[in-house]
């Protein structure tokens, strides 16, 4: 589904990604862990089409497409979803209007029919219920006055409504209490299927207890320095990233 080869990227003249290779197949859940400043968020935003990053080398293919050629909205319509580390507030535009604008635009771009108003509302309410949110939030501004946890939950709600193919979740677990972490994890698990894939970017093992990854990668210094199964996450939790310093050194 996603094939990243030798990806180099920079922002403001500074190299952040220095040769990433990553292949994600449909049905898989991958986790990327790593210290602050290792390039995790850069990779997430780059996949969603953020214009501040310049790709200097390498390629990213999504299905049959050259992903790097597409605008953010085109990527979304093809099925890429980024759960933001810091979701943005958009006061004065209600969640309902936002979701409708997004879903209809994606369907239109894919040549599908827009949903009837009643069907759309029923669909959104169903998803709101699954996320254990109050449907009154739908008439409030997007993330307006939401707590950190509510914003993250709203990210997953959007994901459930839009039903993307590849879900890139950038520190979706940060700022969540245990109950909210459980709800968010349930939401992610709801979307796991043979046709979809998940890329979890996180600092903590905790989320991976709820959303079991198939593969775990460690990103450090702009490269994947180690890959393994779910056990690798546990090892990192116990030992920290320090024990990887050697392999980072070798990689650099």
């Amino acid at each position: 589904m996603l094939d990243i080869q030798n990806l180099h990227a920079r922002i403001d003249g500074k190299d952040i990604l220095k040769g990433i290779d990553l292949r994600i197949n449909a049905g898989e859940v991958h986790a990327i862990m790593g210290p602050n400043g290792s390039g995790k968020s850069t990779l997430s935003k780059l996949l969603a089409g953020h214009e501040d990053y310049t790709v200097t080398q390498g390629s990213v293919r999504f299905g049959d497409e050259d992903l790097l050629e597409l605008d953010p909205e085109q990527r979304a319509a093809k099925g890429i979803f980024l759960g933001f580390q810091y979701p943005v507030e958009i006061p004065g535009v209600s969640n309902m209007v936002f979701l409708k604008a997004a879903l209809n635009a994606q369907r239109k771009a894919r040549g599908e029919k827009e949903l009837e108003a009643a069907d759309f509302i029923a669909w959104v309410r169903h998803r709101v219920k699954q996320m254990k949110m109050d449907s009154a939030m739908l008439s409030r501004g997007v993330n307006e006055g939401f707590s950190g946890g509510e914003k993250k939950r709203n990210e997953i709600l959007q994901m459930l409504v839009l039903e993307p193919k590849l879900m890139v979740l950038d520190e979706t677990d940060s700022g969540l209490d245990i109950d909210a972490l459980k709800i968010v994890s349930d939401g992610i698990n709801l979307m796991r299927s043979k046709e979809r894939a998940v890329l979890l970017v996180t600092h903590y093992q905790r989320l991976l207890d709820y959303v079991q990854p198939d593969f775990v990668h460690v990103l450090a210094g702009g490269r994947i320095v180690k890959s393994g199964g779910p056990d690798l996450a546990r090892e990192l939790e116990e030992k920290g990233y320090g024990w990887l310093q050697n392999s980072v050194g070798q990689a650099a």
Binding site: A76, G92, Q158
Partner: protein, 365 residues
């Protein structure tokens, strides 16, 4: 020199009972002084000459008789309003009472209001210059006694041939609070003046304004906030959205007088220009004569928030629609301060209709 004879003929066509000596004296004062020339700094960007191109039928001086006596005039426009208006609200809201329903003066072409909120009173006043009337002037003198609160909304959703002049003077006494929202949509030529006198300690004013002219419309907002006493608060935030060949002017003066120590004042102006032919002149002005004050001000010519733009696009919203949504957000920052829900919703809908891509937004509601 533009001729103002049609102002005289419109006045002379009034029934005799309406042509009182007081109104005639005001008319003469106006004719003698003429329209304010652009050589005056306050009129640098706004030329009222189009008023002399109106027909005398368009001027519509009020035909009612009036009780108003002869007074002096602040300037020629004050005199013009005095000559053409037969009156308006003349009310005192009794101490410690709260008016549940907003005051909405009758929609006449020319209005002159006097309102006093006695000690601790609370009221909402809506001054509306919407509609297609070719020429309208509204002048209001408002006094807020100690501890009173006024929510003042001035809305101008005017037609493409509409000319509007308004002037509101607010005197705010000890611990009283004026909470003002102004909205200008449409119109051909409008000038709105707002004078706020923070006259006694603890007085405050919260002022939010949105101007969004379209077509060849011209709208000019001038505000003056006078901090005359210590411990007063002023917050002023104006936002402008201009498209087509529209022209908007904002001039906001904040003056902190010598005795106004511990003044807490903030003024922000932000503008969005949506078409290459549109123009906005924004000028925040700050004069400080006291030494222990907190004053901040700034003007930005905006780009929309990049992060919010990326957020919307990453969800599949095309760039053009994302711009419309973020323009709504930009305006919402002002409109959210309108308290009666019905008024706020109507104004928001009306604004949507005149934004590029607004039809698409309406379909989403």
């Amino acid at each position: 020199m533009a001729t103002l004879e049609h102002f005289r003929s419109a006045f002379d066509a009034l029934p005799e009972a309406a042509r009182t000596p007081a109104r005639r004296a005001a008319l003469y004062a106006f004719l003698e002084q003429g329209l304010p020339p652009n050589t005056l700094e306050d009129w640098q960007y706004t030329d009222l000459a189009p008023l002399s191109a109106l027909t005398s039928e368009a001027l519509r001086p009020d035909a009612d008789a009036t009780q108003m006596g002869i007074e002096s005039f602040a300037d020629s426009l004050d005199a013009l309003n005095r000559a053409f208006a037969a009156g308006g609200l003349d009310r005192s809201i009794a101490a410690n009472t709260k008016l549940e329903e907003p005051l909405r003066p009758e929609n006449r072409a020319h209005q002159r209001h006097r309102l006093k909120l006695e000690r601790g009173a609370e009221a909402t006043l809506i001054l509306n210059t919407s509609g297609d009337m070719p020429f309208q002037t509204i002048f209001a003198d408002i006094e807020l006694e100690a501890g009173s609160r006024l929510h003042l909304i001035r809305i101008s959703d005017a037609g493409a041939d509409a000319h509007r002049l308004t002037r509101v003077k607010l005197r705010v006494a000890r611990d009283a609070c004026a909470d003002v929202v102004t909205v200008d949509l449409g119109g051909k030529l409008s000038r709105h003046d707002l004078h706020v006198d923070l006259a006694e300690p603890g007085a405050s004013v919260y002022l939010h304004g949105l101007y969004a002219p379209v077509g060849k419309g011209h709208v000019d907002n001038h505000t003056w906030i006078e901090h005359r006493a210590p411990h007063c608060i002023s917050r002023e935030s104006f936002r402008g959205i201009a498209r087509d060949q529209a022209h908007a002017v904002f001039n906001g003066m904040i003056r902190v007088h010598k005795d106004a120590q511990k003044t807490d004042s903030e003024q922000r102006v932000a503008n969005l220009i949506l078409s290459p032919g549109a123009e906005i002149n924004a000028k925040p002005e700050l004069e400080i004569y006291a030494d222990d004050v907190k004053c901040a001000h700034g003007a930005t010519f905006g780009q929309l928030d990049d992060q919010a733009m990326f957020y919307l696009r990453s969800r599949g919203v095309p760039e053009a629609l994302a711009r419309t949504l973020l323009t709504c957000t930009f305006a919402h920052e002002v409109l959210r301060h309108i308290r009666p829900d019905g008024v706020r919703e109507r104004v928001t809908k009306r604004l949507l209709r005149q934004l590029p891509g607004g039809e698409q937004m309406e379909a989403l509601q």
